[in-house]
Symmetry: C2
Protein backbone atom coordinates (compact mmCIF):
# COMPACT_ATOMS: atom_id res chain seq x y z
CA UNK A 1 0.00 0.00 0.00
CA UNK A 2 1.14 3.51 -0.76
CA UNK A 3 1.23 6.17 1.89
CA UNK A 4 -0.34 8.64 -0.53
CA UNK A 5 -3.71 9.92 0.50
CA UNK A 6 -5.99 12.12 -1.55
CA UNK A 7 -5.58 14.77 1.14
CA UNK A 8 -7.34 15.08 4.49
CA UNK A 9 -10.29 17.04 3.05
CA UNK A 10 -11.12 14.39 0.45
CA UNK A 11 -10.39 11.50 2.84
CA UNK A 12 -12.73 12.96 5.46
CA UNK A 13 -15.44 13.50 2.87
CA UNK A 14 -15.11 9.87 1.70
CA UNK A 15 -15.22 8.61 5.30
CA UNK A 16 -18.42 10.53 6.02
CA UNK A 17 -20.06 9.46 2.76
CA UNK A 18 -19.20 5.81 3.55
CA UNK A 19 -21.40 6.09 6.66
CA UNK A 20 -24.52 6.70 4.58
CA UNK A 21 -26.89 3.72 4.26
CA UNK A 22 -26.20 1.73 1.13
CA UNK A 23 -22.75 3.22 0.51
CA UNK A 24 -19.46 1.46 1.23
CA UNK A 25 -15.89 2.74 0.83
CA UNK A 26 -15.84 2.12 -2.92
CA UNK A 27 -19.15 3.78 -3.70
CA UNK A 28 -18.25 6.62 -1.31
CA UNK A 29 -15.16 7.29 -3.44
CA UNK A 30 -17.28 7.30 -6.61
CA UNK A 31 -19.74 9.72 -5.01
CA UNK A 32 -16.91 11.97 -3.79
CA UNK A 33 -15.38 12.04 -7.26
CA UNK A 34 -18.75 12.83 -8.83
CA UNK A 35 -19.28 15.66 -6.35
CA UNK A 36 -15.81 17.08 -6.99
CA UNK A 37 -16.54 17.07 -10.72
CA UNK A 38 -19.82 18.93 -10.13
CA UNK A 39 -18.71 21.37 -7.47
CA UNK A 40 -20.91 24.28 -8.52
CA UNK A 41 -23.96 22.38 -9.71
CA UNK A 42 -24.17 19.74 -6.98
CA UNK A 43 -21.54 19.82 -4.23
CA UNK A 44 -22.13 23.42 -3.12
CA UNK A 45 -25.94 23.16 -3.22
CA UNK A 46 -25.85 19.84 -1.35
CA UNK A 47 -23.62 21.34 1.36
CA UNK A 48 -26.10 24.19 1.76
CA UNK A 49 -29.16 21.93 1.76
CA UNK A 50 -27.60 19.70 4.43
CA UNK A 51 -26.59 22.64 6.55
CA UNK A 52 -30.01 24.29 6.24
CA UNK A 53 -31.86 21.06 7.01
CA UNK A 54 -29.60 20.31 9.98
CA UNK A 55 -30.28 23.80 11.36
CA UNK A 56 -33.99 24.15 10.69
CA UNK A 57 -35.57 20.73 10.89
CA UNK A 58 -36.76 19.49 14.24
CA UNK A 59 -38.89 16.65 15.61
CA UNK A 60 -42.53 17.59 16.26
CA UNK A 61 -43.07 17.49 20.02
CA UNK A 62 -46.57 16.11 19.46
CA UNK A 63 -46.08 13.34 16.92
CA UNK A 64 -42.34 12.98 16.28
CA UNK A 65 -42.56 13.90 12.58
CA UNK A 66 -39.62 15.91 11.20
CA UNK A 67 -40.42 19.43 9.99
CA UNK A 68 -39.23 23.03 10.13
CA UNK A 69 -42.11 23.88 12.48
CA UNK A 70 -43.27 22.46 15.81
CA UNK A 71 -46.08 21.37 15.75
CA UNK A 72 -45.38 19.91 12.31
CA UNK A 73 -47.45 20.77 9.22
CA UNK A 74 -49.57 17.63 9.64
CA UNK A 75 -50.37 18.22 13.33
CA UNK A 76 -51.12 21.89 12.56
CA UNK A 77 -53.27 21.29 9.45
CA UNK A 78 -56.90 22.21 10.24
CA UNK A 79 -58.24 20.03 7.45
CA UNK A 80 -56.99 16.74 8.88
CA UNK A 81 -59.19 14.43 10.93
CA UNK A 82 -58.31 15.09 14.60
CA UNK A 83 -59.99 11.92 15.84
CA UNK A 84 -57.63 9.30 14.35
CA UNK A 85 -53.96 8.72 15.17
CA UNK A 86 -51.89 6.47 12.93
CA UNK A 87 -48.92 4.96 14.79
CA UNK A 88 -45.82 4.33 12.64
CA UNK A 89 -42.29 3.18 13.30
CA UNK A 90 -40.38 5.94 11.50
CA UNK A 91 -40.83 9.25 9.72
CA UNK A 92 -40.13 7.39 6.46
CA UNK A 93 -43.42 5.54 7.01
CA UNK A 94 -45.27 8.89 7.24
CA UNK A 95 -43.70 9.84 3.91
CA UNK A 96 -44.79 6.52 2.37
CA UNK A 97 -48.39 6.80 3.65
CA UNK A 98 -48.62 10.44 2.53
CA UNK A 99 -47.31 9.54 -0.92
CA UNK A 100 -50.04 6.89 -1.10
CA UNK A 101 -52.63 9.45 0.04
CA UNK A 102 -53.86 6.66 2.30
CA UNK A 103 -54.74 8.56 5.45
CA UNK A 104 -56.11 11.96 6.41
CA UNK A 105 -55.71 11.91 10.20
CA UNK A 106 -52.62 12.52 12.29
CA UNK A 107 -49.57 10.41 13.03
CA UNK A 108 -47.46 9.22 15.90
CA UNK A 109 -43.84 8.17 15.30
CA UNK A 110 -42.62 5.50 17.74
CA UNK A 111 -39.01 5.84 16.67
CA UNK A 112 -38.57 2.08 16.24
CA UNK A 113 -40.08 -1.18 17.48
CA UNK A 114 -39.61 -3.31 20.56
CA UNK A 115 -36.75 -5.69 19.97
CA UNK A 116 -35.35 -7.95 22.69
CA UNK A 117 -32.45 -8.88 20.38
CA UNK A 118 -31.46 -5.26 19.78
CA UNK A 119 -32.19 -4.26 23.38
CA UNK A 120 -35.06 -1.91 22.45
CA UNK A 121 -37.50 -1.67 25.38
CA UNK A 122 -40.75 0.31 25.79
CA UNK A 123 -38.90 3.19 27.47
CA UNK A 124 -36.76 3.58 24.35
CA UNK A 125 -39.82 4.32 22.20
CA UNK A 126 -42.11 7.35 22.08
CA UNK A 127 -44.94 5.48 23.86
CA UNK A 128 -45.69 7.72 26.85
CA UNK A 129 -46.68 10.61 24.61
CA UNK A 130 -48.87 8.27 22.55
CA UNK A 131 -50.80 7.18 25.66
CA UNK A 132 -51.35 10.85 26.58
CA UNK A 133 -52.58 11.68 23.10
CA UNK A 134 -54.79 8.59 22.90
CA UNK A 135 -56.54 9.57 26.16
CA UNK A 136 -57.75 12.90 24.74
CA UNK A 137 -61.56 12.99 24.38
CA UNK A 138 -61.57 13.69 20.62
CA UNK A 139 -59.67 10.49 19.77
CA UNK A 140 -61.87 7.67 18.51
CA UNK A 141 -59.41 5.43 16.66
CA UNK A 142 -55.77 4.43 16.83
CA UNK A 143 -54.37 2.75 13.70
CA UNK A 144 -51.32 0.61 14.41
CA UNK A 145 -49.51 0.88 11.05
CA UNK A 146 -46.43 -1.08 12.03
CA UNK A 147 -44.32 -3.22 9.73
CA UNK A 148 -45.50 -6.80 9.27
CA UNK A 149 -42.30 -8.09 10.85
CA UNK A 150 -42.04 -10.14 14.06
CA UNK A 151 -40.88 -7.11 16.04
CA UNK A 152 -43.49 -4.86 14.43
CA UNK A 153 -46.30 -7.22 15.35
CA UNK A 154 -44.94 -7.77 18.88
CA UNK A 155 -44.95 -4.01 19.31
CA UNK A 156 -48.52 -3.79 17.99
CA UNK A 157 -49.67 -6.37 20.56
CA UNK A 158 -47.85 -4.51 23.30
CA UNK A 159 -49.47 -1.21 22.31
CA UNK A 160 -52.93 -2.83 22.10
CA UNK A 161 -52.48 -3.97 25.71
CA UNK A 162 -51.32 -0.57 26.87
CA UNK A 163 -54.22 1.19 25.07
CA UNK A 164 -56.79 -1.29 26.41
CA UNK A 165 -59.39 0.44 28.60
CA UNK A 166 -59.38 3.69 26.66
CA UNK A 167 -62.53 4.53 24.74
CA UNK A 168 -60.86 4.15 21.35
CA UNK A 169 -61.04 1.58 18.57
CA UNK A 170 -57.66 0.03 17.87
CA UNK A 171 -57.12 -1.07 14.28
CA UNK A 172 -54.24 -2.41 12.25
CA UNK A 173 -53.53 -2.45 8.54
CA UNK A 174 -55.24 -5.16 6.50
CA UNK A 175 -53.23 -8.18 5.48
CA UNK A 176 -52.61 -6.50 2.15
CA UNK A 177 -49.22 -5.81 3.65
CA UNK A 178 -47.12 -8.86 2.73
CA UNK A 179 -45.72 -10.86 5.64
CA UNK A 180 -42.24 -9.59 6.43
CA UNK A 181 -42.87 -6.53 4.29
CA UNK A 182 -41.78 -3.05 5.24
CA UNK A 183 -44.17 -0.19 4.52
CA UNK A 184 -41.61 1.97 2.81
CA UNK A 185 -41.02 -0.72 0.16
CA UNK A 186 -44.66 -1.11 -0.88
CA UNK A 187 -46.24 0.48 -3.91
CA UNK A 188 -48.85 3.17 -3.30
CA UNK A 189 -51.81 1.03 -4.41
CA UNK A 190 -51.03 -1.79 -1.98
CA UNK A 191 -50.61 0.69 0.85
CA UNK A 192 -53.85 2.52 0.03
CA UNK A 193 -55.79 -0.78 -0.21
CA UNK A 194 -54.34 -2.05 3.05
CA UNK A 195 -55.31 1.20 4.71
CA UNK A 196 -58.84 1.15 3.38
CA UNK A 197 -59.52 -2.37 4.67
CA UNK A 198 -57.93 -1.82 8.07
CA UNK A 199 -59.55 -3.83 10.81
CA UNK A 200 -59.75 -4.03 14.59
CA UNK A 201 -56.41 -5.12 16.07
Amino acid sequence: MSNYSAGPEIERLIQLLAKLPGLGPRSARRVALHLLKKREALMGPLAEALSEAADKITACSTCGNLDVSDPCAICAAPGRDPSVICVVETVGDIWALERAGAFKGRYHVLGGVLSPLDGVRPDDLNIGRLLERAAAPEITEIVLALNATVDGQTTAHYLSDRLDGLDVTITSLARGVPVGGELDYLDDGTLAAAFKSRRPA
Copy 2:
Protein backbone atom coordinates in the same frame (compact mmCIF):
# COMPACT_ATOMS: atom_id res chain seq x y z
CA MET B 1 -51.46 11.07 -4.29
CA SER B 2 -51.52 13.42 -1.34
CA ASN B 3 -50.45 17.02 -1.67
CA TYR B 4 -48.46 16.76 1.56
CA SER B 5 -44.76 17.27 1.12
CA ALA B 6 -42.11 16.79 3.76
CA GLY B 7 -41.35 20.51 3.47
CA PRO B 8 -39.21 22.32 0.89
CA GLU B 9 -35.98 21.86 2.88
CA ILE B 10 -36.32 18.07 3.04
CA GLU B 11 -37.65 17.81 -0.53
CA ARG B 12 -34.69 19.79 -1.87
CA LEU B 13 -32.25 17.64 0.10
CA ILE B 14 -33.84 14.45 -1.29
CA GLN B 15 -33.73 15.84 -4.85
CA LEU B 16 -30.02 16.65 -4.57
CA LEU B 17 -29.18 13.29 -2.97
CA ALA B 18 -31.05 11.51 -5.78
CA LYS B 19 -28.52 13.01 -8.24
CA LEU B 20 -25.63 11.13 -6.65
CA PRO B 21 -24.37 8.10 -8.60
CA GLY B 22 -26.04 4.90 -7.41
CA LEU B 23 -28.88 6.66 -5.57
CA GLY B 24 -32.46 6.90 -6.85
CA PRO B 25 -35.47 8.66 -5.31
CA ARG B 26 -36.15 5.84 -2.84
CA SER B 27 -32.60 5.46 -1.59
CA ALA B 28 -32.26 9.26 -1.48
CA ARG B 29 -35.21 9.32 0.94
CA ARG B 30 -33.56 6.64 3.09
CA VAL B 31 -30.30 8.59 3.13
CA ALA B 32 -32.11 11.85 4.00
CA LEU B 33 -33.93 10.14 6.86
CA HIS B 34 -30.68 8.64 8.14
CA LEU B 35 -29.00 12.05 8.00
CA LEU B 36 -31.91 13.72 9.82
CA LYS B 37 -31.64 11.10 12.56
CA LYS B 38 -27.91 11.75 12.89
CA ARG B 39 -27.89 15.51 12.59
CA GLU B 40 -25.03 16.18 14.97
CA ALA B 41 -22.90 13.13 14.29
CA LEU B 42 -23.20 12.98 10.50
CA MET B 43 -25.35 15.62 8.79
CA GLY B 44 -23.53 18.67 10.17
CA PRO B 45 -20.03 17.23 9.63
CA LEU B 46 -20.95 16.13 6.09
CA ALA B 47 -22.25 19.60 5.26
CA GLU B 48 -18.97 21.08 6.50
CA ALA B 49 -16.81 18.53 4.70
CA LEU B 50 -18.64 19.18 1.42
CA SER B 51 -18.41 22.91 1.81
CA GLU B 52 -14.72 22.79 2.71
CA ALA B 53 -13.89 20.43 -0.16
CA ALA B 54 -15.89 22.53 -2.63
CA ASP B 55 -13.98 25.63 -1.52
CA LYS B 56 -10.47 24.28 -1.20
CA ILE B 57 -10.01 21.49 -3.71
CA THR B 58 -8.81 22.38 -7.16
CA ALA B 59 -7.47 20.59 -10.25
CA CYS B 60 -3.67 20.48 -10.49
CA SER B 61 -2.67 22.64 -13.47
CA THR B 62 0.12 20.20 -14.28
CA CYS B 63 -1.53 16.77 -14.08
CA GLY B 64 -5.26 17.33 -13.47
CA ASN B 65 -5.29 15.55 -10.09
CA LEU B 66 -7.62 17.02 -7.46
CA ASP B 67 -5.96 18.45 -4.36
CA VAL B 68 -5.95 21.45 -2.03
CA SER B 69 -2.64 22.62 -3.54
CA ASP B 70 -1.54 23.37 -7.09
CA PRO B 71 0.75 21.68 -8.02
CA CYS B 72 -0.81 18.68 -6.29
CA ALA B 73 0.96 16.65 -3.59
CA ILE B 74 2.07 14.04 -6.15
CA CYS B 75 3.51 16.54 -8.64
CA ALA B 76 5.23 18.38 -5.76
CA ALA B 77 6.65 15.29 -4.02
CA PRO B 78 10.46 15.28 -4.37
CA GLY B 79 10.66 11.51 -3.81
CA ARG B 80 8.70 10.53 -6.89
CA ASP B 81 10.35 9.53 -10.15
CA PRO B 82 10.23 12.61 -12.41
CA SER B 83 11.02 10.63 -15.56
CA VAL B 84 7.78 8.60 -15.88
CA ILE B 85 4.26 9.91 -16.53
CA CYS B 86 1.30 7.57 -16.08
CA VAL B 87 -1.70 8.66 -18.16
CA VAL B 88 -5.10 7.85 -16.64
CA GLU B 89 -8.70 8.61 -17.52
CA THR B 90 -9.90 9.99 -14.19
CA VAL B 91 -8.72 11.03 -10.75
CA GLY B 92 -10.39 7.87 -9.41
CA ASP B 93 -7.79 5.87 -11.35
CA ILE B 94 -5.00 7.76 -9.55
CA TRP B 95 -6.63 6.81 -6.25
CA ALA B 96 -6.82 3.16 -7.34
CA LEU B 97 -3.18 3.02 -8.50
CA GLU B 98 -2.00 4.76 -5.33
CA ARG B 99 -3.97 2.35 -3.16
CA ALA B 100 -2.24 -0.49 -4.99
CA GLY B 101 1.14 1.19 -4.46
CA ALA B 102 1.75 0.29 -8.09
CA PHE B 103 3.59 3.34 -9.34
CA LYS B 104 6.08 5.90 -8.02
CA GLY B 105 6.19 8.40 -10.87
CA ARG B 106 3.75 11.17 -11.76
CA TYR B 107 0.33 11.12 -13.37
CA HIS B 108 -1.62 12.82 -16.10
CA VAL B 109 -5.43 12.86 -15.97
CA LEU B 110 -7.05 12.93 -19.43
CA GLY B 111 -10.50 13.65 -18.05
CA GLY B 112 -12.13 10.87 -20.09
CA VAL B 113 -11.52 8.91 -23.29
CA LEU B 114 -12.18 9.53 -26.96
CA SER B 115 -15.68 8.42 -27.78
CA PRO B 116 -17.32 9.03 -31.16
CA LEU B 117 -20.65 7.85 -29.74
CA ASP B 118 -20.56 10.31 -26.84
CA GLY B 119 -19.06 13.06 -28.99
CA VAL B 120 -15.78 13.20 -27.04
CA ARG B 121 -13.00 14.45 -29.35
CA PRO B 122 -9.26 15.04 -28.71
CA ASP B 123 -9.89 18.74 -27.93
CA ASP B 124 -12.23 17.70 -25.11
CA LEU B 125 -9.42 15.86 -23.31
CA ASN B 126 -6.35 17.17 -21.47
CA ILE B 127 -4.02 16.08 -24.30
CA GLY B 128 -2.20 19.33 -25.20
CA ARG B 129 -0.70 19.60 -21.72
CA LEU B 130 0.36 15.93 -21.91
CA LEU B 131 2.28 16.55 -25.16
CA GLU B 132 4.04 19.52 -23.53
CA ARG B 133 4.96 17.49 -20.48
CA ALA B 134 6.08 14.48 -22.54
CA ALA B 135 8.47 16.68 -24.55
CA ALA B 136 10.45 17.73 -21.45
CA PRO B 137 14.00 16.32 -21.51
CA GLU B 138 13.71 14.41 -18.21
CA ILE B 139 10.83 12.25 -19.44
CA THR B 140 11.86 8.75 -20.51
CA GLU B 141 8.59 6.79 -20.31
CA ILE B 142 4.87 7.39 -20.72
CA VAL B 143 2.62 4.65 -19.30
CA LEU B 144 -0.82 4.60 -20.91
CA ALA B 145 -2.90 3.22 -18.03
CA LEU B 146 -6.27 3.47 -19.72
CA ASN B 147 -9.23 1.19 -19.15
CA ALA B 148 -9.28 -2.01 -21.26
CA THR B 149 -12.46 -0.86 -22.97
CA VAL B 150 -12.88 -0.16 -26.69
CA ASP B 151 -12.78 3.60 -26.11
CA GLY B 152 -9.85 3.30 -23.70
CA GLN B 153 -7.80 1.33 -26.21
CA THR B 154 -8.76 3.65 -29.10
CA THR B 155 -7.55 6.54 -26.99
CA ALA B 156 -4.30 4.71 -26.20
CA HIS B 157 -3.63 4.17 -29.93
CA TYR B 158 -4.41 7.82 -30.63
CA LEU B 159 -2.01 8.97 -27.90
CA SER B 160 0.74 6.58 -29.14
CA ASP B 161 0.46 8.22 -32.57
CA ARG B 162 0.58 11.74 -31.13
CA LEU B 163 3.59 10.88 -28.92
CA ASP B 164 5.45 9.20 -31.79
CA GLY B 165 8.71 10.94 -32.59
CA LEU B 166 9.43 11.99 -29.02
CA ASP B 167 12.38 10.32 -27.33
CA VAL B 168 10.22 8.42 -24.85
CA THR B 169 9.22 4.80 -24.42
CA ILE B 170 5.45 4.36 -24.54
CA THR B 171 4.12 1.48 -22.49
CA SER B 172 0.73 0.18 -21.55
CA LEU B 173 -0.48 -1.99 -18.69
CA ALA B 174 0.00 -5.74 -19.06
CA ARG B 175 -2.96 -7.87 -20.04
CA GLY B 176 -3.49 -8.61 -16.40
CA VAL B 177 -6.25 -6.07 -16.71
CA PRO B 178 -9.30 -8.10 -17.75
CA VAL B 179 -10.82 -7.22 -21.12
CA GLY B 180 -13.62 -4.71 -20.55
CA GLY B 181 -12.37 -4.13 -17.02
CA GLU B 182 -12.18 -0.75 -15.39
CA LEU B 183 -9.16 0.02 -13.23
CA ASP B 184 -11.15 1.26 -10.30
CA TYR B 185 -12.90 -2.12 -9.96
CA LEU B 186 -9.73 -4.22 -9.79
CA ASP B 187 -8.17 -5.55 -6.63
CA ASP B 188 -4.82 -4.11 -5.63
CA GLY B 189 -2.85 -7.26 -6.45
CA THR B 190 -4.09 -7.44 -10.03
CA LEU B 191 -3.34 -3.78 -10.53
CA ALA B 192 0.14 -4.06 -9.06
CA ALA B 193 0.93 -7.14 -11.19
CA ALA B 194 -0.36 -5.49 -14.35
CA PHE B 195 1.75 -2.47 -13.61
CA LYS B 196 4.88 -4.49 -12.96
CA SER B 197 4.63 -6.34 -16.29
CA ARG B 198 3.77 -3.28 -18.34
CA ARG B 199 5.07 -3.48 -21.90
CA PRO B 200 5.73 -1.26 -24.89
CA ALA B 201 2.47 0.00 -26.40
